[in-house]
């Protein structure tokens, strides 16, 4: 071995020093393995922590903010909504099906760990262009994997997004968001009292050599040769086991049999046990002999750090143990007492009567290193100078329109979401394909509106604006269906944080997200950071993905995007400005990703949301759709396609046609109103200071854009629906 062991494990010299200081001695191999996984970027958030600390996390509805398995907000009626997003990009890049599948499994267990029943999934995805064979393989595999797992556990996948951009050819992004619901007083939060003497019960799958690639350098000589063989870095998902785990854990929580519940994800048993002990301000004795193994001969460090899927750690009083085991047996799950919480603060690990590791639990879980990494902005001069806004455009308007509508980023993602069961559990009022998904809250008239948005192109040109736009668009997607945006989760996808430009992008994105969340009243309840999305010199665009939670008081008043009848008045709420930087039009028609992203006035954005929500509540709207990628032209076309009714509009303002059609100015929405409600809508908009313009009327089989051009709804639908199937050769 050339380099010292700690470095081979990814620990710096300073980190090793810090471990020595905590222990007052040299760590042994097992302890080193435990620190290396717990102090990794993935588990400790060491590069991002100081930035994430600046996010707004408080709000009247917030029950659980960042720092626990998932955030939770109060939605009234004694109910809490639990939600969180996570990335599984790296495993998906080498085994798309299993990588994505286990990503679903992992985030579901985060929500389950709060004692909530998972009721919805969303999957923001990013790939390289589908013209490349490998990207098609990744795309098809990831989608099949998400469906394969989500469908099998009976949690509907109700939304998400798919983006295509060259930087994702080597680095696909796979994020998954899970939403759950629980009686607020039954949430398993860290505020629960956990007692010394309580038992640690490992429930679910046996432990194998999964996902311990990083620490496999510790393997004893004999195994070294086939280390790659026997310690694969990709896990295989077992959704059937997960389904049983969901039902068993919920039954345990409902019957009040537990003091605590923790998922096993990154860093496996080490993470679950050290966090549980640390939160309870206790120590723990962990008995590795009691951990059921999938194959013989696992070394202690392997059992400690294995990331085998479909496992949960329950904490229960000894007198409840028999009941706990009976519930697990009923669901056909293995359950084993693998340790005990003890007074003090030490986590000691015993194997064969011998103590193989003994460290302060807190030092693993809460005292990881924190870095303020150097930052420096990359040069923007070149891409800014190339701003496409005042380009001379030689393309015919109709061709430009069809090109934008048929661009893979804009085109229908039906091919994707038809592979997802979006109906199971019976709560899906609006599934994928609209703006936000709407899921009923059983036993009430309320519904949740859910949307995810990431704006990689904008983030590339201006990370602050990119992040703020992502929040604004996600909130707008929720508002257009009539829901009030109430909170967010996020997944922050970036390159290597050890590069100052990436760190700067990260800091700017967090600042943008924080400002937008403050202005829109949507606190951050949790999230996930995914760094190192780069290979060679190609990093992904800085892409914070926002998962938005909105609330509708009466789901019967929700608004859909389709123009479903003729004779409706079409309005544009908000204003269009000459800003084409980072637009779909600039990329697809002019062939460049350059310029400045559109400006964002967060006060205006908030005002628009108020108008949309109020208009829905007063039942003024027949249709409503957010105006974003592809601009007004695409928004109108999507309304027409969804409702199978055309329109005739005139284009407002004194700007070139391609600006009115394709600019992606923020804070806009297209709405349709019955003519007897038009004046009420105008009055409402006026009251909130939201500019509006009347565009025209719905009706007929054609979409008529002023004197510029017209396209039949059928032709547009063909382009919109056939793009993705066409690209993957179907």
């Amino acid at each position: 071995m050339e380099q010292p062991l700690h470095r081979a494990l990814g620990l710096t010299d300073d980190e090793l020093e810090a471990i020595r200081a905590r222990l007052g001695r040299e760590p042994n191999h097992n302890e080193l393995a435990m620190y290396s996984v717990m102090w990794s970027e993935h588990c400790s958030y060491k590069s991002s922590k100081i930035h994430l600390g600046t996010l707004p996390t408080e709000g009247s509805r917030v029950i659980v903010g960042p720092g626990q398995d998932a955030g939770a907000v109060d939605v009234g009626d004694g109910l809490a909504v639990v939600f969180k997003m996570e990335s599984h990009s790296h495993p998906s890049a080498i085994e798309p099906y299993q990588g994505a599948a286990t990503g679903v499994g992992g985030i579901v267990r985060d929500v389950l760990a709060m004692g909530a029943r998972p009721i919805a999934l969303l999957d923001p995805l990013m790939f390289g262009p589908l013209s490349e064979e490998r990207n098609r393989w990744l795309f098809c595999g990831v989608v099949a994997g998400i469906g394969g797992y989500g469908n099998c556990i009976g949690v509907p996948t109700v939304g998400g997004e798919v983006r295509f951009a060259p930087p994702h050819s080597t680095n696909p992004v796979v994020n998954v968001m899970c939403v759950g619901i629980a009686p607020a007083d039954r949430l398993v939060t860290s505020a629960r009292e956990v007692h010394a003497g309580s038992l640690l019960v490992l429930i679910g799958a046996a432990t194998g050599r999964d996902g311990i690639g990083g620490v496999s350098v510790l393997a004893s000589r004999t195994l070294e040769e086939d280390a790659g063989e026997s310690r694969p870095s990709v896990q295989i998902g077992d959704p059937f086991a997960e389904k049983l785990l969901i039902e068993a854990c919920l039954e345990l929580v409902e019957r009040g049999l537990l003091e605590g519940l923790q998922d096993l994800g990154g860093a496996g048993i080490t993470c679950a046990v050290s966090e549980s002990a640390s939160r309870a301000r206790l120590g723990a004795e962990l008995r590795l002999d009691a951990v059921p193994l999938r194959e013989p001969g696992l070394e202690p460090f392997e059992i400690l750090t294995s990331e085998s899927q479909e496992r949960m750690l329950a904490i229960a009083r000894p007198e409840r143990l028999a009941d706990v085991l009976a519930v697990c047996e009923r669901w056909g799950l293995q359950a084993s007492v693998i340790g005990t919480l003890v007074p003090g603060s030490s986590l000691s690990v015993v194997l064969g009567g011998e103590t193989v590791a003994s460290v302060p639990a807190r030092s693993l879980a809460d005292e990881g290193p924190v870095y303020d990494r150097p930052m420096s902005p990359p040069g923007f001069e070149e891409i800014r100078a190339e701003d496409p806004t005042f380009e001379t455009v030689a393309v015919a308007p109709r061709d430009a329109f069809l090109a934008v509508l048929g661009s893979p980023n804009v085109a229908s993602k039906r091919w994707v979401w038809e592979q997802y069961d979006h109906l199971v559990q019976g709560g899906t009022v609006v599934g994928p394909g609209g703006d936000a998904a709407v899921v009923r809250i059983e036993g009430t008239m309320k519904a949740l509106a859910l949307a995810t948005d990431g704006k990689g192109r904008f983030g590339h040109l201006d990370p602050y604006l990119g992040a703020a736009h992502a929040v604004a668009e996600a909130a707008r997607n929720v508002a257009v269906v009539g829901a009030t945006p109430i909170a967010i989760t996020n997944c922050l996808n970036f390159g290597n944080p050890e590069r100052p430009e990436v760190m700067w992008q990260f800091a700017e994105s967090v600042r943008g997200m924080a400002d937008a969340c403050r202005a829109l009243g949507t606190p951050v309840t949790g999230g996930n950071v995914s760094f190192y999305n780069e290979s060679g010199d190609s990093a992904i665009w800085p892409t914070p993905v926002i998962g938005m939670l909105g609330l509708i008081e009466d789901y019967r008043l929700l608004v859909r995007p389709g123009f479903v009848e003729p004779g409706l008045e079409i309005y544009l709420l908000g204003e269009t400005h000459p800003e084409l930087g980072g637009s779909e039009f600039a990329e697809v028609v002019l062939g460049r990703v350059a310029g400045r992203p559109p400006a964002l006035d967060l006060e205006r954005e908030a005002a628009l949301h108020r108008v949309l929500v109020e208009a829905a509540r007063e039942d003024l709207l027949a249709a409503s759709h957010d105006c974003s990628d592809g601009g007004l032209a695409v928004a109108l076309a999507e309304c027409a396609i969804a409702g199978d009714t055309g329109f005739a509009v005139s284009l407002p303002g004194d700007v070139p046609w391609y600006v009115s059609l394709f600019a992606e100015s923020a804070s806009r929405a297209v709405v349709a109103v019955p003519s007897d409600r038009a004046s009420s809508l105008e009055a409402l908009a006026l009251r909130h200071g939201v500019p509006w313009s009347r565009l025209g009327e719905t009706g007929g089989p054609r979409m008529v854009f002023d004197a510029l051009f017209e396209v039949t709804v059928d032709e547009a639908r063909g382009v919109y629906e056939e793009t993705i199937p066409g690209l993957i050769g179907e």
Binding site: A205, G208, S230, V234, D238, A241, Q309, G332
Partner: protein, 91 residues
């Protein structure tokens, strides 16, 4: 020459095999208590035309490695016979 190829694709030994596990778990209830290590794999058969056995073997290996399996999680085994040696089953 015409060859008959058979490729068996299995999950790598260390990996969880959920299918095998589910089958194994169901056996005792059916009265089969003496079975262990159930693993489920894929078996792909096809015919191919190639100038000689060497060329055929090279191609089948290539197909197995690049299309029929993912080396990150799977291993494969190849079997090749001249087609005349086996009865075809129709088509």
């Amino acid at each position: 020459m015409r060859f008959h190829a058979q490729v068996v694709v299995r999950l790598k030994p260390g990996l969880l095999d959920p299918q095998g596990k589910a089958v194994e778990g169901s056996l005792p209830a059916m009265g089969w208590r003496n079975v262990s290590n159930v693993r489920v794999g894929k078996q792909i058969e096809f015919e191919l035309e190639a100038p000689d056995e060497r060329a055929a073997a090279a191609q089948v290996n290539d197909m197995a490695a690049r299309l029929l399996s993912n080396p990150v999680i799977e291993v494969y085994a190849v079997e090749l016979r001249t087609a005349s040696a086996i009865p075809t089953d129709g088509a």
